[in-house]
């Protein structure tokens, strides 16, 4: 029997997701026993042309991590889509844009200017900017920079999602198991994680008082955190209640508030909106001025509520797409 073929590809991401695969440790050998990896640029020397040669639909599953930032990403994921039975958005960036997605708060010009001109460490007196095509000595073509970062499912049809920044080895393993079991869940499902929020797994959930109401907003590096008490009740903006569980509440185990890398639950369409709504609900003030005071303590509102999900949110970002959005 021929082993199922799988492909792995890395778009706009930090590389953590690739690490996460390696983090499977000895289990990766089990994986290799079970499947044939036909494309994995970071580890294996297969080229895009090799993929192009494969018959359509011949790859069983493509694991794609990172958001779609460059024209090249777009090209390759579309190719993989054509060649694969299943496309899996692997990790937060691929599923919702991830941390790089916060770049969508700026448009292309602003980003370019910042990176190539304004950053203090840049030495670029001629203010040269990257071009898609350069014809000086030789002709060079670079992938184009898309107006904004997109989650995978806005570019190609996605079958499954594996959440996390990065997905924990446990989650990765469970999703592979699910895929290999032959008993596929409905399209669009999230693999390897829970249907309940982080609180469900969190040991501190039991320490919550009868009524959860908070009076202030604290940043974790500025307070002495009591590791035995629900962080929310210590005025730390824990995203646990609004974030999909399955991570094993790892951060909370070391008394760091959840930042939400497992993204929204099935019934939630806009992670940040829901997070803001939940925070607004438990903020225990009636007076507008008091509320203003608390809100002014947020150093970066979008960074707190939309850390991993801005490109997939209703807000999308700042850039206007052609044809309106």
């Amino acid at each position: 029997m021929q082993k199922p073929k799988i492909a792995l590809y890395w778009c706009a991401g930090c590389g953590g997701c690739e690490e996460a695969v390696v983090d499977l440790a000895e289990k990766i050998l089990d994986v290799i026993n079970l499947v044939d990896i036909v494309f994995w640029p970071v580890a294996l020397d297969y080229k895009v042309e090799d993929v192009e040669k494969l018959p359509d639909g011949s790859i069983t599953a493509s694991f794609i991590n990172g958001g779609i930032r460059m024209g090249e990403h777009e090209h390759v994921v579309k190719l993989l889509r054509k060649k694969s039975k299943l496309v899996i958005a692997y990790g937060a960036c691929s599923a919702w844009g991830g941390v790089p997605g916060l770049a969508n708060l700026y448009d292309k010009e602003e980003i370019m200017k910042c990176v190539y001109q304004e950053t203090p460490t840049v030495d670029n007196p001629s203010k040269t900017m990257p071009q898609v095509k350069t014809e000086k000595e030789v002709t060079l073509e670079l992938p184009n920079f898309l107006p904004r970062i997109l989650p995978l499912d806005l570019v190609v049809d996605v079958d499954y999602y594996v959440p996390g920044c990065p997905p924990t080895p446990d989650v990765t393993w469970k999703s592979i198991e699910t895929l290999l079991s032959g008993n596929l869940p409905p399209k669009g499902s999230t693999l390897g994680a829970l249907t309940k929020s982080v609180c469900y797994e969190c040991a501190l959930n039991e320490t919550k008082p009868e009524k959860v109401l908070i009076k202030d907003f604290m940043r974790p590096h500025k307070v002495a955190i009591d590791p035995s008490k629900c962080l929310l009740t210590q005025n730390l903006m824990c995203m646990g209640p609004v974030t999909r569980g399955g991570c094993g509440s790892l951060c909370l185990k070391v008394a760091m508030p959840c930042t939400g890398c497992f993204g929204p639950l099935d019934e939630v369409k806009d992670y940040g909106g829901k997070a803001a709504s939940y925070f607004a609900s438990i903020l225990d003030y009636m007076d507008e001025k008091e509320i203003e005071k608390v809100l002014s303590k947020f150093p970066d509102f979008m960074g707190v509520f939309y850390r991993y999900t801005l490109p997939a949110s209703r807000l999308r970002g700042k850039i206007k797409m052609k044809g309106g959005d």
Partner: protein, 651 residues
């Protein structure tokens, strides 16, 4: 959903209310083009009997399984059309309403085309939502047919009297040691020869000893759980230290060494630490005021029947009732020291103190004596604490004071014909039956009226002589009235601790703290919390007659509830998806009705649980729920999203 959707759309003209602006025909034609719509019709008044008939027949003829009516506000006629839908043989919750009157024709009277487009959109949205509606059934509870009345003033007494007369077991609690409230302290009343105490006696005749009425004095509310038809109320009964053996011999008070101002007489006389609140107090048993008692035990020694027990402890009791009437009354506005010279001179008193002074059973046996002399010139200053006359005053009108002032002025003129009485007023609001005649009679009796706009000044000179200076608005002149007595006509304010009762029972209040009715005009004795009713001045200033009438009216509404076998509650309540709920408990704190708790389903796995009897379907929890586990029937995220998409297109 396996079943094929068959939607009927009905567009109402509402006379010309809608049809005058919206092109109803266009809307109907448009509706026919919407997905799953099998029939669309228009009619002049959909809410009328023939209009409803159309719906009922179409459900049968077209085998409809969803009904959409585009008409007025759902708050108005949703129940009407739900009933019609049910009578047509469908589940009533498979009905959806589009408001094309308040939301459309009334707000765009001059833009007919825009309004028509908007009406189409509203219909499209309703159809989109209707496609996702699910059949629901009403939630029913058995009713416990007993009632709790909080407050033993005249309105509470009237309510207890009337409920008991219809055979309803009633608990009447008051936190003071006697029933009677404030009306018992009033002197001669406006329209009869009766006094406040006579009204109290008249009511207590039916209440005292009534086997259906349990009276608990010195008793306060601790908590209220449950909901309409089934409240579980915890009370704490504070000790009286004297039991029913008391034979009213009064020996204890004679030997008691502690004297404190008598609150019944507004501090104008003294009482002992062991005392009978007033002559006709109910229950007629002495009581010890532990705040001032020195525990000298003199009374215990002297009591011939051994009725005194200084070691009595508070006791808690729990009762189950079907309905609650809050008749907590009011407090008179207490002027600050120095406001209108109050407390700077003992010649400045409040109207309530005057009532006591004029009462033959009051501290002066009915003689108006201030500082040992009978005042000759008396000035009443009205609207003290009301109508924003001073910065601390409330903006509202206290309603009863005008005629009460005039009544007292007439009583004084009759009793002391040579007194000169001035009434400084802002507006004479003798609105009640017979009050205008009273006002005229005051004129005939040479009670003089001076109209002010800004609060009069009370001048006290070094010798302690008083005068009142005011700018007479209708003469445009400042006048100074030398006087021997100033009566401050103080308004009514919400009772001081009402917020505790209010938050325990979970009812709303207005900006000044008076409790809020379910509807100011048509549901004046009901609250937004089903099964909780309001009586007397706790909703706003009232005179005795109005208080008694509202006590009876509250009893009437309560009786209407308690006459039922069971109560049905709209099923538009919150529901938890236990597969999603992680037990994060955010919703628990949000629920304004205390309807959500956490239940343990497996070892330490908890999920939220909605008490369908308590849930009012406000949606707060659904908005707060971080995981989307909490949804509200009738307004599920998917249904609302379908409407939004219908309106805005897919985003």
């Amino acid at each position: 959903m396996s079943e094929e959707l068959r939607i009927g759309v009905y567009v109402c003209h509402c006379g010309t209310n809608i049809a005058g602006v919206v092109n109803v025909k266009d809307v109907v034609e448009y509706a026919k083009t919407l997905p799953n719509v099998v029939v669309a019709k228009e009619y002049v008044f959909m809410c009328s009997a023939p209009g409803q008939q159309i719906i009922k027949e179409d459900i049968k003829n077209f085998k409809l399984n969803r009904v959409v009516v585009a008409a007025c506000s759902p708050s108005l006629h949703e129940p009407t059309f739900r009933t019609a839908t049910a009578e047509g043989g469908l589940n009533p919750y498979l009905f959806e309403m589009a408001n094309i009157r308040e939301h459309c024709s009334w707000v765009h009277p001059d833009e007919k085309e825009v309004a028509t487009t908007k009406a189409k959109l509203l219909v499209k949205m309703a159809v989109a939502k209707a496609s996702l509606l699910e059949p629901l059934s009403e939630i029913k509870f058995k009713v416990n047919n007993t009632a709790l009345i909080i407050g033993g003033g005249v309105s509470g007494l009237a309510a207890a009297r009337d409920l008991a007369a219809r055979g309803i077991k009633t608990y009447l609690i008051d936190r003071s040691p006697t029933l009677g409230g404030r009306a018992a302290r009033l002197g001669k009343l406006t329209y009869t020869e009766m006094k406040g105490i006579d009204v109290f006696k008249g009511l207590i005749r039916d209440v005292a000893g009534n086997r259906l009425i349990d009276v608990y004095t010195n008793t306060e509310l601790v908590s209220v759980d449950g909901s309409v038809g089934n409240f579980k109320v915890k009370l704490v009964k504070n000790p009286r230290y004297v039991d029913a053996k008391c034979n009213l011999c009064g020996e204890c008070a004679k030997v008691c060494p502690v004297e404190v101002p008598d609150e019944f007489e507004f501090g104008m006389s003294k009482r002992k630490a062991i005392y009978l609140p007033f002559k006709d107090a109910y229950p007629r048993i002495y009581v010890i005021d532990m705040k001032s008692c020195t525990r000298c035990l003199e009374c215990v020694k002297v009591c011939p029947v051994g009725a005194i027990n200084l070691n009595e402890k508070p006791s808690e009791l729990t009762i189950n009732v079907g309905g609650i009437i809050v008749a907590a009354g009011y407090d008179p506005y207490e002027p600050k020291t120095g406001e209108y010279g109050y407390k700077l001179s003992n010649k400045v008193i409040t109207l309530f103190q005057l009532e006591r002074l004029l009462d033959s059973e009051g501290p002066t046996k009915g003689e108006l004596i201030v500082n040992g002399v009978k005042p000759k010139n008396i000035v009443f200053v009205m609207c003290v604490g009301s109508l924003s006359t001073t910065p601390d005053a409330y903006p509202y009108c206290s309603r009863m004071c005008c005629s009460s002032t005039i009544k007292n002025a007439l009583v004084l003129r009759e009793k002391y014909p040579d007194t000169n009485i001035y009434i400084a007023y802002k507006d004479v609001r003798t609105y009640g039956r017979g009050d205008e005649q009273l006002y005229m009679k005051a004129g005939e009796n040479f009670v003089r009226f001076a109209k002010f706009k800004d609060a009069p000044k009370i001048n006290i000179d070094q010798k302690g002589n008083l005068s009142v200076t005011l700018f007479e608005e209708t003469l445009q002149e400042e006048i100074t009235i030398p006087t021997d007595l100033v009566v401050l006509v103080v308004g009514m304010t919400p009772p001081r601790d009402i917020d505790k009762v209010r938050t325990t029972i979970k009812i709303g209040c207005g900006p000044e703290g008076f409790l809020r009715e379910a509807h100011l005009k048509l549901r004046p004795v009901e609250t937004a919390t089903d099964g909780v009713y309001l009586a007397g001045a706790v909703t706003g200033p009232k005179n005795i007659i109005e208080s008694i009438a509202s006590g009876s009216a509250a009893a009437s509404r309560t009786l209407a509830l308690l006459s039922k076998e069971e109560v049905a509650v709209e099923p538009l309540i919150a529901v938890v998806n236990e597969d999603i709920c992680s037990g994060c408990a955010i919703c628990v704190a949000m629920c304004p009705y205390g309807a959500i708790s956490l239940k343990i389903i497996d070892k330490n796995i908890r999920v939220a649980k909605v008490d369908s009897a308590l849930c009012k379907g406000c949606g707060t929890c659904a908005a707060a729920c971080p995981s989307g586990a909490m949804q509200q029937y009738g307004f599920k995220d998917a249904q609302i999203k379908a409407q939004v998409i219908a309106a805005m297109g897919e985003v």
